[in-house]
Symmetry: C2
């Protein structure tokens, strides 16, 4: 049958099969709970309300919102009526936010009340927005310079609770979009199709990936404005899982409490979040019961092996390391032991699981070296290429597409090794890799080693032009408060861990490493600062 893979089918299934299963949403005024029957009805109302205020198929509707039930309704209500859910990263600079709203041509913005002041500061720059909708617990609008301004709750109250999602959407129609936070230049947009998100959701339910199930209580800590919160809200709704949405300005303490009280079984977020949670667990004694957790899904950047070990051995919380990016919806690889690896020692298993894992069913990967040859021996570094039905095929209206999308593959810009088990390990970003005398040096490996030193707070390694070797590594170090460590001590510390030619040519101590608005090292800035460091 020619039946299209469209998102509204997920919410229709949840309404029919799991009307009683709960969504637990933390908002500005506390915890709000409802079941999928009501969630479905409000989602239908939202679709209907959007039509009433003039949204048409293919229009972009932006969201500036926390992880809460209204954002979840937007996840289905916007694509459900044929429009495009454009989740906007609230941590970007106001200029970047204005850029992406204009670039996406958002027609309507759904805005959490916390971000109204932010949008007010850029409202005169917004060229396509025809209406603003405030996401708030009460329907009374505060004074605002935004116009026209609607109350979300008010719109829903007047809308059709029995709205029928159109059955003639094509699965290749755009359903969502998200912009990456670029380290240089403007953010780049990615479109997600109904088909891509549906297949990605199915992949998340596989026993060998995240195994999201009706019996789960899923808590996406990763923001819903980051690559669909890794697809968890879609999969959880489709499969009828309970969902816990942690809302605005959460703390590690709050997350620990939610896991404890709501009996969360699976949660997802970046390493920083889990470091914070670990600290909270360590400081709080045995206040929290974490025994409900069957998996902590971690991605966004590499999780330190020590952190994985602490989660598993000290707290008995299974940890799943994954890899993906905005362009890939995002799941690409996921670290699970194969059945014949269960006899390895705990430490051997940990080393495997600290890598990024092997490719999930539905995608293909390939690693190519500088000469375009396939590297697949566990040693040779190469760029990771990805292909599959939930991988973007371009940046949205962006000339930079041609650099990343070539011959039917996404060039991820990530430098990895891949071993005989198909397991990848991220070694660097293409543009950060140090190319010394024709050989590659991983800055991430050096940074991880340096951060393993007691006195080091942050370490960023960059390639600096060198008269003989083209480039050589230089390490930029921020010491911990009151730590006193010399360059020689750090080099001695590195020596046993690396070949001699990997060791940095210099170590530069700094007060601070420059970062993007989302906290990534601005290595381009460091390279600019240091460009004559080894030649003058």
């Amino acid at each position: 049958m020619d039946v299209q893979l469209t998102l509204h089918k997920m919410v229709e299934r949840a309404e029919k099969l799991f009307p009683k299963k709960q969504i637990i949403s933390r908002t500005a005024s506390g915890i709000f709970r409802y079941g999928y029957r009501e969630m479905g009805e409000r989602t239908r109302r939202l679709s209907s309300a959007l039509e009433k205020i003039g949204v048409q198929r293919g229009d972009k509707v932006g969201t500036l919102a926390w992880n809460d039930h209204r954002h979840l309704e937007a996840y289905f209500g916007i694509p459900g009526m044929g429009a495009v859910l454009h989740t906007i990263n609230i941590r970007l600079s106001p200029q970047h936010i204005a850029y992406i709203i204009n670039h996406a041509e958002d027609k309507v913005l759904l805005i959490d009340q916390d971000f109204i002041p932010l949008i007010e500061t850029i409202k005169d720059e917004l060229k396509t927005v025809q209406a603003y909708v405030v996401l708030a617990d009460n329907s009374e609008l505060k004074d605002s310079k935004l116009n026209p301004l609607y109350s979300y709750e008010d719109l829903l109250a007047k809308a059709d609770p029995q709205y029928q999602f159109p059955d003639d959407l094509n699965e290749n129609d755009p359903a969502g979009m998200c912009y990456t936070s670029a380290t240089t230049g403007s953010p780049k947009g990615v479109i997600y199709s109904h088909r891509g998100i549906t297949l990605h959701s199915m992949a998340l339910g596989l026993a060998d990936t995240a195994a999201i199930s009706e019996s789960d209580v899923c808590m996406p800590v990763v923001p819903m404005f980051h690559a669909n919160a890794w697809g968890m809200p879609f999969a959880a709704t489709w499969f009828g899982s309970s969902q816990v949405l942690p809302g605005p300005w959460f703390t590690p303490e709050l997350l620990a409490k939610l896991i404890h009280t709501e009996r969360v079984t699976i949660t997802a977020g970046v390493p920083t979040i889990w470091l914070g949670l670990l600290k909270e667990l360590e400081n709080s004694g045995e206040v929290y019961d974490m025994s409900s957790l069957r998996a902590v899904l971690c991605g966004g950047s590499a999780a330190p092996l020590g952190m994985i070990r602490t989660f598993e051995t000290k707290y008995n919380i299974p940890f799943i390391h994954a890899y993906g990016m905005t362009e890939t919806t995002p799941l690409v690889t996921l670290s699970r032991l194969k059945s014949y690896q269960t006899d390895l020692s705990d430490e051997e298993k940990l080393v495997i699981r600290a890598k990024q894992g092997y490719v999930v069913p539905g995608l293909e990967i390939k690693v190519i070296n500088d000469n375009g040859e396939t590297a697949w021996n566990g040693e040779e570094m190469g760029e990771l290429l990805v292909r599959g039905p939930w991988i973007a095929n371009a940046y949205y209206n962006d000339e930079r597409s041609k650099d990343a999308f070539k011959d039917g593959w996404l060039y991820t810009g990530d430098i990895v090794t891949i071993d005989e088990e198909g397991v990848i390990r991220i070694a660097d970003r293409t543009k950060d890799l140090v190319k010394s005398g024709g050989e590659w040096i991983s800055t991430i490996d050096l940074e991880n080693a340096l951060m393993g030193h007691d006195g080091v707070f942050e370490a960023a390694v960059v390639g600096v032009p060198h008269p003989k070797w083209q480039e050589r590594p230089v390490a930029c170090i921020v010491l911990k408060p009151n730590a006193s460590v010399t360059k020689e001590e750090l080099l001695d510390f590195l020596k046993p861990q690396f070949p001699k030619w990997w060791l940095p040519d210099d170590i530069v101590f700094m007060d601070e490493i420059p970062k993007t608005s989302v906290g990534k090292f601005l290595k381009a800035t460091l390279r600019e600062q240091l460009k004559e460091h080894l030649t003058v």
Copy 2:
């Protein structure tokens, strides 16, 4: 990305990620073992060999084969080069087999040596077959009337081990086909697309369905000529599971031994198989270790509640009841408890799990009564309708399509109830249902009750024309050897279990109930025999 969901990607993934995982295949000469690397290479050789003997894209290639490694290679090698895998039910009558080979226009037949004599008897009727290939352990051909006749092993030996599967297949291209065993008229053919099988395989890997995983050892007992062995060989290969293929003429003893020695974790088959296995377990004392089994998947017809209870309570083997048909690839519903049902009593849980379960992600179902209205209250019977990307959209070149495929739905011909949890229970086949005075009576419910009587060996209930009530039920009974039971005793036995108007108007004792070649009751024949039973 416009990446097509095609079957060869499954075997490519298995070759790369799971080269060492084993396929254990029982053939005429014993147990044969190999890994996915070799399986992949032989599959490539098969694709190459088929091209060499003139098979082109879209051509049908028939298989008459057991569940073994060559049949598995055919599962991927035939669609891998763009042809169509037509699995032929070896249990059909020779006339029906000739009919479907001609109707499908099979160009080549792959034939297990056991079925060469069968094909020889019908060879003069076959209009489209241009070559025969013998599936046998040694490559020497016996004398045969089939011409041209090739040895499979010989063809593979001469073929290209590095054959590249074409990358330009469309996911909507036909990949497989299968004919249903009709109770009246000629068999009806169904086409499976690459897309349909891929999505169905993904559904089989979901945590909430069969959860097929790399860590599984999968044994499809259901024949590979029945609806793709329920898709298990595809899913198991894609996900890198070990596979145990039980081969020709297996017995319950052999199945028990394979489970024991190969540590099978999941197996699939019809209730008759599991009744046989239970008997073997009961007769053999504690010879077999069944502790590796995490699931017995059962479908094809309804599993008796008592059998499920015995598996679970006596042998601690989890039992999963499922529903599907040839037209649905086949998985439609699957019986799993919801998370909030875990507190029910064991008996309450068993009653839920003996039903056919709720619809898997990706499909939609609907139940309509005689007036075309939706029935969804757990009581009212209606016909089950199914829609989704792995549901056939027609019978292959068959005018009967218009009766079953209407308004975008497959009319299954199964009469079910569906309760508020979305759980269906099969009550009857549309054409077997008794319509008495405008009310429906389930013949299956009456038969199950009658078979619960100690003296009854088989029971078939049919609707017989009646002057006042249009139709009334009549039960046809085969007693167990030496049993002596009267009509009155049986009616008294039924009375407490049913409303009075459900009780059969008569009970007819027979020596044998007429059956199709695959063992289904020929109720049409019974109705013809009894058509004047209540009027004369």
